[in-house]
């Protein structure tokens, strides 16, 4: 390829060349980082929770009129009975919180009662003998709670369970040699025996600040008698919508003095998940839109400037054609010219992309940009440039040799 004449021409159009290269560089820097952010968010959103999320329903119930704890206990027991009898319901339990709820209790867990020497932070889920089956958790070692292990607990009461079930990740952190089952751990000032290990259970929060312990959950055998309770209901496949439609009225019919909020009192687990990741999904879409606009604008800019250059050089093209250059020569001349500018742009852009990433890392909780994103971005922009310049280049190749004889 004749690179030297191309470089000579570009030297004549220094400013235009520089502006296109800068445009490509900026686009690369922004698109790489946007792709990285999108990918990070999508990765977070697709992380499994350990819960069998289909056919699951959550009811947020709040007792009105401040009933006494003992009364709450019997009201809750009655509710669980009522819910179990709703056609289509296969299992149900009451708890303080559930994955993606964005509220709950976190605690240190370790090998001594001193809270400052904890091994890991863990989410605290109050559970009973039906929890594993309702959530569809996979018990990989040990056993489930039994009915008589479930104790009553009041608001802000001290939590001191005799037995607990932990996730595999938490068990591994407590006992890296894999011998957690049957051993003790301190989640309070008293030791608790680990009687079971479940494969996976996501904590209630999805914030990146809690990502380090996102799989460290503990199930505690408590029936919490407080004003606000969540009922987790498993429905038969295909009957989720029916159950969801019926739950609110059924519970109100059984006992009137309660609040099940119209806006979020009854939610399917799919809705709960979508709400938890709403901001991640939003940012991913926003970054996608901005990247698309940017790529379109860059392509349009290249088309515009290349068209102008072709128009400006019609006479030279005609001369070259008259001197024996083929159409193909002209086409490849413009493609190569664009490629050279593109390469200069992506080299500069690669540096800019890494710089922008470093700055974002310093300002926000963003990880290090993997080289793969830059390489993908480079390939994308070079192809985009070639695609954008193709139409003007094709027009250039159709300039007839007779153009050489015409005056401007």
């Amino acid at each position: 390829m004749q690179i030297r004449p191309i470089l000579a021409t570009l030297r004549h159009h220094k400013a235009g060349t520089l502006l296109i290269a800068m445009q490509i560089a900026l686009t690369l820097a922004i698109v790489c980082n946007a792709m990285f952010i999108i990918h990070q968010r999508l990765a977070r959103m697709s992380k499994p929770s350990g819960v069998d999320e289909s056919n699951l329903l959550v009811v947020r119930n709040e007792w009105a009129g401040k009933p006494a704890p003992a009364q709450i206990g019997s009201l809750m027991a009655a509710d669980l009975d009522t819910l179990r009898k709703v056609p289509g319901v296969t299992n149900v339990y009451a708890t303080n919180t559930y994955p993606f709820s964005n509220t709950g209790l976190a605690n240190g867990i370790g090998h001594s009662p001193d809270k400052r020497n904890y091994v890991s932070v863990t989410a605290v889920y109050f559970a009973n003998e039906n929890t594993l089956a309702t959530l569809g958790l996979k018990l990989v070692e040990g056993r489930n709670f039994t009915t008589n292990e479930i104790n009553d607990l009041g608001d802000h009461d001290k939590i001191a369970p005799d037995v607990i079930i932990v996730t595999r990740e938490l068990a591994h952190r407590l006992y890296p040699d894999g011998s957690a089952l049957g051993k003790t751990a301190y989640i309070s000032d008293k030791p608790s025996i680990i009687i079971g290990i479940v494969d996976r259970l996501q904590i209630p929060w999805v914030d990146s600040s809690m990502a380090q312990w996102a799989d460290c959950s503990t199930l505690l055998p408590f029936r919490q008698r407080v004003d606000t309770t969540h009922y987790v209901v498993r429905a038969r496949p295909e009957q989720l919508a029916d159950v969801a439609a019926r739950v609110r009225a059924t519970l109100y019919a059984a006992h009137h003095l309660r609040v099940i909020r119209p806006k979020d009192g009854v939610q399917t687990f799919a809705q709960v998940r979508a709400a938890a990741y709403e901001s991640d999904r939003g940012i991913a879409i926003l970054m996608g839109v901005i990247s698309t606009i940017l790529l379109a604008i860059t392509a349009a800019g290249i088309v515009g400037l290349a068209s102008f250059w072709v128009g400006q050089r019609r006479k030279q093209i005609g001369v070259r054609r008259a001197l024996g250059a083929t159409r193909h020569d002209i086409l490849s001349y413009f493609l190569t010219e664009n490629l050279l500018i593109g390469i200069a742009g992506v080299v500069l852009g690669g540096v800019l992309a890494i710089g922008l990433n470093l700055w974002l890392m310093k300002q926000f909780e963003i990880g290090r940009l993997a080289p793969g994103y830059v390489l993908t971005g480079v390939a994308m922009l070079l192809l985009l440039g070639q695609g954008a310049v193709f139409a003007p280049a094709l027009r250039a190749s159709r300039v007839p040799p007779v153009e050489a004889t015409r005056s401007v």
Binding site: K115, T228, V259, G301
Partner: protein, 441 residues
């Protein structure tokens, strides 16, 4: 002369409609995307109480010591809320002009109409000075008096939404409502007061939330009836006692505190008071670590608590990057367009036009592109805001709105930015050698 330049610019733009349209669209998309992101950013980072924010302060006392800061990223910042003991002690002394300890509650109301379901409300347990301190507007009635704080009176201030629901919007002052099974007398109804962020208690609300502030009742009363807190509770050790009373006796932090201090003398006096409070407690054997108090004003406090979501900032940065990329693009296209007319410039220069005239002519042309781009950008912003409402969480997106200021700013940014982009192309155009151009033709 201006009219002549405008005419020249219009002719020139008409001569290459494709290129002109391209430039206009690029400017339009650039300003629309960046201004949409900016409108979201502006909505969440604005000062919720601009006339007073520099006089509102949040005291922090390091009751946990260095070992209690479980979070390594907190830069040795003391706990961001207060325990019951200290909040009540500070309230007893009232050393600020106005002050209030407060905690978030979420009681239920049983409507007088037996056919209505009970409703769940959100709100705060506060002291009477809360309303004066924050200039809270009332539609009916007023705040309760300091005597009601002391007497732990069963009074309540409700917002207009709850007033609408329970009393059909009528003046309900003096009526009673059933909150958590007890009767409360309504003393005031708020007039649309829903500041964003909920700056008075970002610790328990996160700043941006769709939850409303429906009711306010006396702090002392709420403690008396054991109305539990519905916000965050942070503990550095397990409470010894159980229940809500156990929480009050513990060193767990769950109470927000705000104080109004009107001048720098008052601020330093209050700071000295806080420090001496710490030293007294230390002397009494409660702490064995050095003094580490904070007294931030509201803007500094909101900043320290990272109230503005970082996602909003990231989108603003990326959208501004898009604007810059658009301008570089426009600069390239303007350069091509201007230099193509070298011969025209040559003729004008040869006929005696000074460089300044060429500058004017081309900057006006760039400005026209910018203005048109800005106008189209305005339309795109409506689309952008609609899109943001669709993709971003409601508590953030619902705050973004279009107003005259934003529209004016959009036009200004479009024109100024495009003229900036046109500076170099214009400079090049003014350097065209008249003799050379005339010769080659």
């Amino acid at each position: 002369m201006l009219g002549y330049y405008l005419d020249l610019a219009l002719r020139s733009l008409k001569r290459s409609p494709g290129l002109t349209a391209l430039m206009i669209l690029i400017v339009a998309f650039g300003v629309a995307a960046s201004m949409t992101s900016y409108s979201v950013f502006r909505a969440v980072s604005g000062d919720p109480i601009p006339w007073k924010s520099s006089r509102l302060f949040v005291p922090q006392i390091d009751i946990w010591g260095p070992k209690g800061h479980l979070d390594a990223t907190s830069n040795n910042d003391p706990p961001n809320a207060m325990d019951y003991t200290d909040a009540v002690a500070l309230m007893r002394e009232r050393r600020g002009k106005y002050q209030s300890a407060m905690y978030r509650v979420s009681p239920s109301i049983v409507p007088p109409d037996a056919h209505m379901h009970p409703i769940n409300v959100g709100g705060h347990a506060v002291y009477s000075e809360f309303f004066t301190m924050l200039d809270v507007p009332f539609k009916f009635g007023s705040a309760w008096g300091a005597d009601s704080d002391a007497q732990r009176a069963a009074v309540v201030v409700i917002n207009s939404k709850i007033n609408q629901k329970l009393f059909a919007g009528a003046n309900s002052v003096g009526k009673t409502i059933d909150i958590d099974g007890k009767d409360y007398r309504v003393v005031g109804v708020l007039d649309n007061w829903n500041p964003k962020p909920t700056f008075f208690d970002v610790v328990n609300t996160g700043g941006f939330t769709t939850d409303e502030e429906d009711v306010f009742l006396p702090f002392t009363r709420a403690i008396d009836v054991g109305m539990p807190n519905d916000g965050n509770t942070n503990c550095s050790e397990i409470p010894k006692g159980s229940g809500f009373v156990g929480l009050q006796q513990s060193s767990c932090v769950w109470i927000s505190y705000m104080v109004e201090l009107d001048d720098s003398a008052a601020v330093s006096t209050y700071k000295e008071y806080l420090d001496s409070y710490f030293r007294d407690q230390k002397a009494a054997g409660r702490f064995n670590w050095p003094l580490n108090n904070r007294l931030r004003d509201l803007p500094a406090w909101l900043d320290a608590q990272h109230v503005v979501p970082s996602d909003t900032k990231i989108s603003l940065v990326v959208a501004l990057g898009l604007l810059v990329a658009c301008l570089v693009n426009t600069a390239g296209l303007l350069l091509a367009k201007f230099l193509r007319r070298s011969s025209e410039i040559g003729v004008r220069r040869a006929l005696g036009a000074p460089r300044m005239a060429i500058y004017m002519q081309f900057l006006i042309e760039a400005g026209m592109v910018g203005l048109t781009g800005g106008v189209i950008g305005l339309l795109l912003i409506w689309v952008g805001i609609w899109g943001v409402n669709w993709v971003l969480p409601k508590e953030i997106a619902s705050l973004a709105h279009v107003d005259l200021g934003l529209l004016a700013l959009t036009l200004l940014v479009a024109v100024v930015a495009t003229m900036l982009a046109g500076l170099y192309p214009t400079f090049r155009a003014s350097r065209v050698q008249p003799a050379l151009q005339l010769k080659t033709n």
